[in-house]
């Protein structure tokens, strides 16, 4: 039992980081980015590539992956999504447009990655030794990935809570119109949030690639999970996101171990259903009025 709990927590920690990326993009920039999972896979591929080509540790690769992902996502927002925000007549119209556009982007990215790396599976062996925790042994790579993900999530949370830039971002998340009135450059902050979200997700991908076999088309699975976590935790709610991610990690591990490894998505769906039925405003959200 404690094995399931700890394995689940280790997995959930990495999920939390990925979902925080998506939550930044949806909460601040108001774009439901359905290409989020592809950013993750791209981050994982980059880590794979530098490790196999140059024996560079995937952790060191973060130094390159994160800024690169930031730049790419920032450009995507400025070039592709901002025009949609501008032309949208209503929140609903923007929603449909951004869903379609980011789906398109996701397929294009899968297409490009398949073309570059082929359709096969990718994994590499890094820190594969075991480490003992509470009488059971776990892959070192999982523990390291969890620790780095936690550190990054903590840093992000501190940054959002205690810096001026973080404050601006939270202001836009709460209400873009009021934020504009107090002199915040909403498009700039949105682009920043979108870039940052992408960087966080891609970093999560690099970490996950240390213990998870990726292929070019697996991104959509991660998008689903991240979306479920964001909805479960509540849009814009970092604490909720972390708790939801841990719950999902544990639930998935439990179902995979006890019932059937083929039912992990079903486990996520049971949680999703519960949230939609009983707490559509998120775990900690108050009822909408």
């Amino acid at each position: 039992m404690s094995f399931i709990l700890i394995t689940g927590l280790l997995l959930g920690g990495t999920y939390a980081l990925i979902a925080m990326g998506l939550n930044l993009q949806y909460g601040v920039a108001r774009i439901m980015n359905l290409a989020n999972g592809e950013m993750l896979v791209a981050g994982g591929f980059a880590a794979f590539w530098v490790y196999t080509a140059g024996q560079v540790s995937p952790i060191a690769a973060l130094v390159v992956v994160a800024p690169l992902a930031f730049a790419v996502n920032w450009l995507i927002y400025r070039l592709m999504l901002q025009p949609l925000v501008k032309r949208a007549k209503s929140r609903g119209a923007l929603e449909v447009d951004s869903i379609l556009a980011t789906f398109g982007l996701s397929f294009v990215l899968v297409g490009i990655m398949t073309w570059m790396f082929g359709g096969g599976y990718f994994n590499y062996s890094y820190l594969a030794q075991r480490v003992d925790i509470l009488g059971a042994s776990y892959g070192q790579n999982r523990v390291v990935a969890f620790s780095i993900a936690s550190l990054m999530a903590l840093a992000l949370w501190l940054w959002l809570s205690y810096t001026r830039a973080g404050l601006r971002m939270r202001a836009v998340a709460v209400n873009p119109n009021s934020a504009r009135l107090v002199g915040i450059d909403v498009p700039a902050v949105s682009a920043l949030a979108f870039g940052l979200g992408g960087a966080v997700t891609a970093s999560g991908g690099a970490l996950i690639s240390m213990f998870f076999t990726l292929d070019a088309s697996v991104g959509v699975m991660f998008t689903m999970k991240a979306l479920i976590i964001v909805i479960m935790g509540g849009v814009g709610d970092i604490r909720g996101t972390i708790v939801a991610a841990l719950i999902l990690g544990i639930a998935e591990t439990f179902v995979a171990r006890v019932i059937d490894p083929g039912l992990t998505l079903a486990a996520a769906y049971v949680l999703f259903l519960g949230v939609l039925l009983f707490r559509p405003q998120g775990l900690f959200g108050s009822k909408p009025t």
Binding site: G92, A101, L109, G111, D260, L277
Partner: protein
């Protein structure tokens, strides 16, 4: 109230369908095979647009309904009469759609997209799990049904879907959906049970997709969860419907024909690039062709044709 224009349109549609039904006498090989695919997507995209066109809810659940339909035929074709299978599929599709609709259609569009996106994969996982437990694998659907039969069945179904769509468009339900698509708050305060209207339409499109699956099962001969619930189908349907445009009943058809040909061409010559094609098509619809071919047609007509009024 049926105007002379309605009668003309009905006759035109009947003539077009009749003409389409003659195709198997002309060719029973490659062209028939493509035409069957087109007929399949015409039914799927048209019924998809019946729901998603007016409400702007993007459903990615087509593959889930379709896959269930193929399984109904796969499991039942030896023991049950063939005519019963599509009806059972329709029932199951409608019930699943009602359940999904009740959970998600009260909420915003994003929740609905996400939920339907995973639905096919969820059903696939559950079906695979059940199969593993009962020791089953995929199944052979060996029947005497030819591609020609399937094609005719699909043409018949297309006629039915167009008729239902036409009737809904003239009904209070269709009008209610247009109002919901414009402003849901106004719809509610005008006395429309918005959740019910959306669920009913979603049930229709879910039932139709399941029937298509049931009819097509014999074409695949061998059915297993990973192919029957392939999520790509849902995306193809969305692309074709939006490329054609959901503003008119014939819109999706205008998307199905070119896209099927293009898809066929790409998957023959560059099978790895089909996803890229899907992606580019999505972006094209958003950035170049909002409203699809129907939208383009309306814009052109307004610019050049409205002078006489």
């Amino acid at each position: 109230m049926i105007t002379p224009r309605d009668i003309r349109n009905l006759l035109l549609a009947a003539a077009a369908l009749g003409l389409a039904a003659l195709l198997p006498f002309y060719d029973s090989g490659y062209i028939l095979s493509i035409a069957t695919t087109m007929a399949m997507f015409t039914v799927l995209a048209t019924s998809w647009a019946l729901f998603s066109g007016p409400t702007h809810y993007i459903s990615l659940a087509t593959a889930a309904f379709f896959g269930l339909g193929t399984f109904v035929t796969g499991l039942g074709f030896q023991t049950l009469p063939m005519w019963l299978l599509p009806l059972i599929a329709a029932g199951i599709g409608a019930v699943l759609a009602a359940l999904v609709g009740m959970v998600t259609l009260r909420l915003s569009g994003v929740y609905f997209v996400i939920f339907t996106l995973g639905l096919a994969e969820l059903v696939r996982q559950v079906v695979t799990w059940v199969q593993n437990r009962t020791g089953q694998r995929g199944m052979y659907v060996l029947t005497s049904i030819t591609e020609r039969d399937i094609y005719w069945q699909l043409i018949g179904l297309a006629a039915l879907v167009f008729l239902v769509g036409w009737l809904i468009g003239r009904s209070r339900l269709g009008f209610a959906l247009r109002i919901i698509g414009n402003d849901e708050t106004v719809a509610k305060h005008s006395g429309i049970d918005t959740a019910m209207a959306k669920i009913v339409l979603f049930m229709i499109s879910g039932a139709v997709a399941a029937v298509v699956g049931a009819l097509l099962a014999p074409r695949y001969i061998y059915i297993e969860p990973s192919t029957a619930f392939a999520p790509i189908l849902s995306f193809q349907v969305v692309i074709m419907a939006l490329l054609g445009g959901t503003g008119r009943l014939w819109g999706p058809l205008a998307g199905v024909i070119p896209f099927t040909i293009l898809w066929e061409f790409i998957s023959r010559h560059a099978p790895n690039q089909t996803l890229l094609l899907l992606g580019v098509a999505f972006l094209l619809i958003v950035y170049v062709l909002p409203g699809g071919f129907v939208g383009l047609y309306d814009r052109l007509r307004r610019r050049f044709g409205a002078g006489g009024q």
